[in-house]
């Protein structure tokens, strides 16, 4: 089984979110980047498990700059065989997806896995766009994935519940919690990652369909109003008269 996993970076979840250049750019000052958790914990680990039971290869692909190679090496340390970096700024989801689709086009991947979303832009767009560009079926938010010959059997989150679906290969799947258990890279993996192939390929010419023009922070919360645990009537009355939510 030949598997491709899309790996993106995201700011560590505890990073302070701030903007510079007149609120048009994310302030990277002091921000620690990690492998986007969904990509690492679910997509990549499930790909490795499939490789371990069925044989094959796991390739990771990142659309990003040279600075992202630290994050790529981390994913290699967890166990991917090789990495490809498409040398470009991942401007918007369409741009990113078409780059990945162009790379994957004639490589014969059986399965393309991504995380359910990046935690910075939370778009949940890239995987569906890859699928459409390659005319493949797509199953999103999968929480369980099993391979049965040339068919995939999956469970996915669906409108507050769960759906069981079946789809033929090749296919694109975005991975959510439940898919696999997080793996901690060991020393051997970290050493091996240093010498695993990391190929850099140039970007294709692709249009940007959207652009982010600026950012704002949510209005600051006014101070919390404390209510005595013995006076729930007051809370109800505030929720009705002041907050107007009940």
């Amino acid at each position: 089984m030949k598997i491709l996993v899309g790996i993106s970076k995201s700011p560590d979840t505890t990073s302070k979110i701030a903007f510079t250049d007149n609120s048009t750019k994310f302030d990277e000052n002091g921000v620690q980047y990690i492998v986007n958790p969904y990509d690492e914990w679910y997509a990549l680990v499930r790909a490795l498990e499939l490789k371990e039971t069925l044989g094959g290869t796991v390739t990771i692909v990142t659309v990003g700059a040279a600075a992202d190679e630290a994050v790529i090496r981390k994913a290699l340390a967890i166990g991917a065989d090789e990495a490809v970096r498409i040398d470009a700024d991942p401007k918007d989801a369409y741009y990113t997806a078409v780059q990945i689709a162009e790379y994957a086009k004639e490589k014969g991947f059986d399965l393309i896995l991504t995380g359910k979303e990046t935690i910075n832009y939370n778009g949940s767009q890239v995987a569906g766009m890859i699928a459409e560009s390659l005319d493949m079926p797509f199953v999103s938010l999968a929480t369980k994935l099993d391979v049965n010959g040339s068919t995939l059997k999956l469970e996915k989150e669906y409108l507050g519940g769960i759906q069981e679906v079946e789809v033929g290969l090749p296919a694109v799947v975005s991975c959510a919690k439940g898919m696999a258990e997080q793996r901690i890279p060991n020393m051997r993996g970290i050493m091996a990652a240093r010498t695993k192939p990391l190929t850099v390929i140039p970007a294709a010419q692709v249009d940007e369909l959207i652009s982010f023009t600026g950012y704002t922070m949510p209005p600051a919360k006014s101070a919390v109003k404390m209510i005595s645990p013995d006076n729930m009537d007051e809370l109800v009355s505030l929720l009705h008269n002041e907050a107007k939510v009940i």
Partner: protein, 312 residues
């Protein structure tokens, strides 16, 4: 301007559909395209919120996202729509990106507001910790609207319902089973949510959470350790790794308010926190706080809500 709104009719037409139609109406003349075995009375209701025409393919019940994409593309071509609006749910998360590629139309994913004066549209970024303004560079636009972002407006209009042949091709994704919580209010759609965390100590204690939810007509939710321990079903888990919700009221009992939990709920209009620890970080994100034992405070709050409901 011609606007096309996609509504999935398979599971019935709810509040989020009225929000999407209301949103579309503010942008132009709205045609709705929908699929599934949905009755005409429910469809007609969309007219009250501003749709002038409804195209429905009732035969398309278990459509996969490639079929839905084709159907919406066909409807967009037929109506000449320049803007296509989705409800940002699990269906839109598959279909809208595909449609964006097919139509080469810029996609605003997770919009939370109508376009600003300069035409940019606000979306949630960084797990709800900030907003981004998105400019669409293409003539055709796709907007996927986050639930609870706009107040539905019933203008008492009416819509012509026409049957529509989706011409969607074959299914590639076969649905074997769909398990949805029965009778409950789906969490992503809920206006009111009562949530609890590890402070509740065990699954056997959730009765007091459910009682309050029932008294309010609220959905229930939980923190991640609670669903990890199987105290509650996974679909109730909110936060960065669970689902993000934006209810009008979020009541959190026995939840510390870790940053990853807040990521899923900080879009709530009003937050009430009940915690024994006055230093719990959640109080910083709360509108109303109660320092107290959830085992005492929740039943008291339930009684107070019942009393209020009886007199209103």
């Amino acid at each position: 301007m011609s606007v096309l709104v996609y509504i999935n009719g398979v599971h019935g037409i709810g509040k989020n559909a009225f929000e999407a139609v209301t949103y579309g109406k503010k942008l132009g003349d709205v045609t709705v395209v929908t699929n599934g075995n949905v009755d005409d009375a429910a469809l007609a209701k969309l007219g009250e919120y501003g749709a002038s025409k409804i195209l429905v393919d009732k035969s398309l019940n278990n459509a996969d996202d490639q079929q839905l994409t084709k159907m919406i593309e066909n409807a967009a071509n037929q109506t000449g729509a320049s803007t296509i609006v989705f409800v940002h749910d699990h269906i839109a998360k598959n279909v809208a990106p595909r449609l964006s590629v097919r139509l080469k139309a810029g996609l605003v994913s997770g919009a939370i507001a109508l376009p600003d004066g300069d035409g940019t549209i606000k979306v949630n970024v960084f797990s709800g910790k900030a907003f981004g303004s998105v400019k669409v560079n293409t003539a055709k636009k796709i907007i996927s609207l986050l639930p609870n972002s706009i107040q539905p407006e019933n203008n008492g209009g009416s819509a012509a319902v026409e049957s529509f042949s989706a011409n969607a091709g074959d299914t590639k994704v076969k649905v074997l089973a769909t398990k949805q919580p029965e009778g409950d209010i789906p969490l992503p759609e809920a206006d009111l949510v009562v949530s609890a965390g590890r402070g509740l100590k065990g699954p056997e204690n959730w009765g007091i959470v459910e009682d309050l939810a029932k008294a309010l007509g609220a959905a229930t939710a939980c923190s991640r350790p609670v669903s990890d321990a199987d105290w509650r079903p996974h679909h109730e888990h909110v936060g960065q790794t669970g689902i993000a919700i934006r209810p009008n009221l979020y009541i959190a009992a026995g939840i510390s308010g870790a940053i990853q939990h807040l990521a899923g709920v900080n879009g709530s209009k009003t937050i009430v926190v009940i915690n024994t620890d006055p230093e719990a970080p959640f109080f910083k994100a709360a509108d109303y706080g109660v320092v107290g034992d959830a085992f005492e405070v929740l039943p008291r709050l339930t009684e107070a809500v019942k009393k209020f409901k009886a007199s209103h």
